[in-house]
Every structure is written in structure tokens, then in C-alpha cells.
Symmetry: C2
DNA sequence: CTGAAAGCGCTTACAG
DNA sequence: CTGAAAGCGCTTACAG
């Protein structure tokens, strides 16, 4: 079982190795007849290009990285899956990198990451995408990157975002339509752009319907499960108790389930709960969580595409994706 | 910011590139003085060897794969994290591969995986590690592999396993000590070796204490969250109702929480629940789950080591790790 | 549109 | 114990 190389293919097809290379890389201006011959030889010999050789000769690694610093395990897993698939489809490998963007030595961490893995590009997830130290390191290194859901305007940077505001509006319409009038809101940490715009969207949507935003009971969370419990307990101990809670992500919403269970409050009979993201945890609670689906799969796919286009010299861009309401069992009309 | 190559280092240190190569690869028989010079040059120039060049020249990829076909998202995530860290520490990259080992075309799937990614070795997780088609494909290709928690004896194969039986015994001792006498058991799917030995261990441990195994209410699950709900509902509707349930993994245990919530049964007051694995989901339920910790981190580290040793011509081995009882809030004495 | 040459940055034998 | 040569399998300029 010896390895088939580009030379074998060239010989088999009766062309030069350069022609084989052209066909493999989908370069333009290859005569169809030649391409057909090469394709056939590739198929017959079962040829697969050698990653290392391509990387060495081309001076790139065929590695794309995703940078994480996210408190939500389910969101992280979802982004990994999406980015992984997109990379594979494009003939790239995915490398996962973690940093602590709140630490004092972010620059050193970035230095280490950028130095050791020879990446061709990087997807930067929140909240790292809003860290000046992270972006500076990227710029200094000259590594192409794309920001996922950045909380600020970065001139000249490529980004992929979701229309959270519209998603939140839909959630509010859903809850309002069910008859809810007393609301609780669990915010994410201030370091995340999403915390701000999801809160604003929620309060604005209520105001639009004539509700007084001041009556909304708020609590702060960390976008993870356990902070959702604490925030949930706080809100559910208020009088009068809200009949519906919007947790700014699914992990915290799952925490609210735990808080409700502790207090003997039944979902959705006594309390409606909605989250955001539609990540894995949304279907791991009972009843299943009503939430707004962020199209992570499509978003990561777009991010990978932006990164690859950048290589071809094309300008980057800023893409926006729509969120979709996913109504499940955790919401119902309020009792009484 | 030009790239520093082995030639630069050699020149800077006043030695041949071969010597630099020896130092970098920790080859024996390098005089300390020479090594010191090289190390200094490496540090001063900030040299990092080029992955692609090493891979090409050495004829290996520096890629290790993990093969998954597992229904538990939290277990999967845990294995990924552990394997990832172990790979990084060893200077390798981790590639994640998924198959459907129950499908008819397993061989074709494996063929594709083995052909496209040039791996130096593979960690095979359950239940793929018990699929004959998977193992045959690996053998045919001649790719070194190590089995994670295999359910059968594979002559000559390296493996890493955990002592589940002892872990289950500890869980039973814990529950029995709290005063429980009526038990429910949720099995995993028959394709998983763990399903069998965890059940046997559970029933044996009870028998040892004089309990009649026939009184245990059993239900079958799929090692995922939603099957845990169904199995939980089934068990909790029995009369007399068990006061404690052992779900064979944490995901199913979390499902039991949902089932209990539906039926208005409080944990741990009305029902004690224990799982197995101590994966991420164990701390994402409330009260937190009492479980048996499988040392995944250490296990994956050992698996990577076995794979790398294999390269050095060393024989493989079969390692066994101990599980640890992690008592949390989901267990308490039965009421009344 | 196609090809022959050079070279990417390492490691593997092979000398000494 | 150390080094000079050859080569891993591709791609990048450069010709034609």
C-alpha cells in the first residue's frame, strides 16, 4: 500500500505534475480534456494530496483557528461543530485555542498562540472579539481574522453577526401574545456586546407595547448555568412575581429551571422561560426551552468563507444573519 | 517579521542544521555544550520548527485522531478536551472524526476517514471501539490505535479503561449507607460494553448486601438526556416507587431530573439520583448530581502516550484507571 | 493553456 | 558525537 503522489498521477495521465496541481487547486484556464484525464487518473489511483507538502510549498498551513473565551459550554460546542464542518468542507483543519481575555497577560497569551500554531486565519468569538489586546496582537502578526458577533465597530475588520434585536422582539411578541405582562430579565456580563443589545431590544420591545420598562425585574448573570440559578432565585422571590423570564442565553435559562424547581414553581404553568441561542442545552431541559435560534452553523460557515476570500485578496465584509423563534414547551399563558 | 528557519538557528549557533534538528527532537547523544548553544540560539531568535516541513520530511503528520460515535454530548466534550490537551503537550494536533458505527457502510466511512486525514494514530471511543468493521479498517491500514473503554478483549490491542465496577460499588455503598433499599436502574444501550458491566456491578453490589436483585426496577436508555426522561418516567410510575435511581451515565441522570420534575417528585427529598462519568452536565442540574468520576483527563493522556510509544517501537499496553465517588446534592436519606 | 526548474524547511540515511 | 547530501511532495515564479 504505497503512497500515491502527484508524480504518479501525472505519469498515469500523461501530463506534467504542474497540470495535476492546477486541476487539484481548481485553477482557471485548464482545458476540459486535460482536466478530465487528470480527474480520471486521480480517481483510478485513489490519489489524495499530501497536506504537509502543500503547506510547505505554498507557505501556508491550511489551519484555521477559533479563539474562545466563552462561559457557555453549549454555545462553545455549537461553534466548534459548525466551524469544524465548514473547515473540512474547505479542505482546512480546525484548531481550537483558548484564552482568558480578562487576564492581565492577554498579549502574552496571544503571542504564544500566534507563534506556536501557524494559522492561516482566525475566527474570534465573543468576548475575545472585543478585546483590544487580542485584536492588536492579530494586527501586529498580520493574521487574517473575522469577528463573530462583535460588540463594537472595528474599522476594516470582517465580521459575522446575528440580528439579535429582531430575535428578541420575536420572543417578546411571543410572550406578550401569550398574555404575559410581568417580566424578569437576566443579563449577561458587561464584557459581552450581546448583553447590552439584548437588554436594549427587550426593554424597547416592551416599551413599544406600552409596558413600563421600569417594572422589569433584572438580575445579572455570567452566561453560564450556575449564574442562571442565582439570578433566577433573585427574580422569583420578588413580589409580585414575574410570570415570564427572559434569560439572555440558554445556559442561564436552564439555570432558571433549577431555581424554579427549588422554589416549587412549575414551568410552564407557573412560569414561562425563554432563552437565546438555541444551543444544545435548550433541548436538555424539561420542558424543552423556547428560545431564539442563532444560525451558528451558517454563521461559522460564512466566517470561514470570509477568511478564505481574504486569502484570495478579496475584501472582507460584514454579514448579518437572522434569528428564528423556536417555540417549545417552556412557554404558556400565565395562570389566573 | 521574517520567518526564522533551522538554517538561521544553525548559523547563529555556529553548528550544522542537523545538530539543531537533534536538539529539537531530543535525540540522545548530543553534547551538553552543543545543546546549550542551540537552545540559546533558539531562544534568541524565537525559533519554532515548521510543522509542515517536519511532517513532510519525516513522513508523518503529527496528527492524532479521536473517533466518536457517542450519544452523550457531555462525555464527548470531556474526551475532546482531555485528548486536546494531551496532544498539545506532546506537540501533536488533534483531529476529531465522527462515524455512525451502527450504519451498514461503516467500512466505507472508515476508508474515507483513514484515507483523507493522514493520521499518525487514533483513539477509538465507545461504542466504535467494539465495532469489528472499525477495527478491521484500522488493522488493514496499519494505523496505530488505542481503544478507550473497550467492551471486549482485543488481542494485541492497546487500551485504556476505567474500573467502573469499583465505581458502581462505591455508589451502591453510598446509597445503601443513606438507607435506600428500593432501587431503579437505567441501562445504556446494549452496543456499549459499559452498559453490561455497570449493570452487573450494580446488581452484584446489591446482592452482596442481601438485597434481591429481582426487586430492582430496570429501564433501558440510550446514554442521552431524552432517553433518561422516558426511562425515568417509567421507573417513577412503579409501585412501590424506588427511592433511588442509578442512571448509567450523567446525561440519563439529568433526564431523570426532568422526569421527576414532571411528576412533582423532589430531588433529593423524595428521590435520590446518581449518575456515572462526572461529565459537564453533572454540575448543570440542580441539585448537582452525585456521580462516579471517570478520570477522562488522565485516561486520554495515557491513550496519547500509548500511541506515541507505539511509534518508538514500544509495545502497547492495557491501562486501568480508578473511579472516584463524587457525592453532591442529588442524594439524601429516603423520607419516612 | 501547459511545462521544466527551483525551492519550501525540515529529517533520513550515510559518512567520518 | 557531528555534519554534508539527498529528498520528502507539493507550489511558486518563470518560460513558451
Amino acid at each position: 500500500m504505497k503512497k500515491v503522489t502527484i508524480t504518479d498521477v501525472a505519469r498515469h495521465a500523461g501530463v506534467s505534475i504542474k497540470s495535476v496541481s492546477r486541476v487539484i487547486n481548481d485553477e482557471p484556464s485548464v482545458r476540459p480534456a486535460l482536466k478530465a484525464k487528470v480527474d480520471q487518473a486521480v480517481a483510478e489511483l485513489g490519489y489524495r494530496p499530501n497536506f504537509a507538502a502543500r503547506a510547505l510549498a505554498a507557505g501556508r498551513s491550511f489551519f484555521l483557528g477559533v479563539l474562545f473565551d466563552n462561559p457557555s459550554a453549549s454555545y462553545t460546542l455549537q461553534v466548534i461543530n459548525g466551524a469544524y464542518a465548514a473547515c473540512r468542507a474547505a479542505g482546512y483543519q480546525l484548531v481550537i485555542e483558548n484564552i482568558d481575555a480578562a487576564a492581565r497577560d492577554v498579549s502574552a497569551q496571544m503571542e504564544d498562540i500566534l507563534h506556536s500554531s501557524r494559522l492561516d486565519g482566525m475566527i474570534v468569538t465573543p468576548p475575545a472579539c472585543d478585546s483590544e489586546a487580542v485584536l492588536t496582537a492579530l494586527e501586529t502578526k498580520g493574521l487574517p481574522y473575522v469577528l463573530l458577533a462583535p460588540g463594537h465597530e472595528e474599522p476594516g475588520a470582517s465580521s459575522v453577526a446575528s440580528n439579535d434585536a429582531a430575535g428578541v422582539f420575536e420572543l417578546v411578541r411571543h410572550l406578550w401574545g401569550l398574555g404575559h405582562r410581568r417580566f424578569g430579565l437576566i443579563n449577561g456580563p458587561a464584557t459581552h456586546g450581546a448583553s447590552h443589545w439584548r437588554r436594549e431590544a427587550f426593554l424597547n420591545a416592551l416599551a413599544e407595547r406600552g409596558a413600563d420598562p421600569a417594572t422589569v425585574v433584572m438580575a445579572d448573570g455570567e452566561f453560564n448555568f450556575s449564574s442562571g440559578i442565582g439570578a433566577g432565585l433573585h427574580i422569583l422571590r420578588q413580589t409580585p412575581r414575574p410570570t415570564a423570564i427572559f434569560a439572555q442565553n440558554d445556559d442561564m435559562a436552564a439555570g432558571v429551571f433549577a431555581a424554579a424547581a427549588q422554589l416549587g414553581i412549575k414551568i410552564p404553568d407557573d412560569l414561562s422561560v425563554v432563552g437565546f441561542d438555541d444551543s444544545w442545552i435548550a433541548k436538555s431541559v424539561w420542558p424543552e426551552l423556547t428560545t431564539s435560534r442563532q444560525p451558528i452553523w451558517e454563521m461559522t460557515e460564512a466566517a470561514v468563507q470570509l477568511l478564505l476570500n481574504r486569502r484570495k485578496g478579496e475584501k472582507g465584509g460584514n454579514q448579518m444573519f437572522e434569528c428564528t423563534l423556536v417555540a417549545r414547551g417552556s412557554t404558556a399563558p400565565p395562570r389566573g
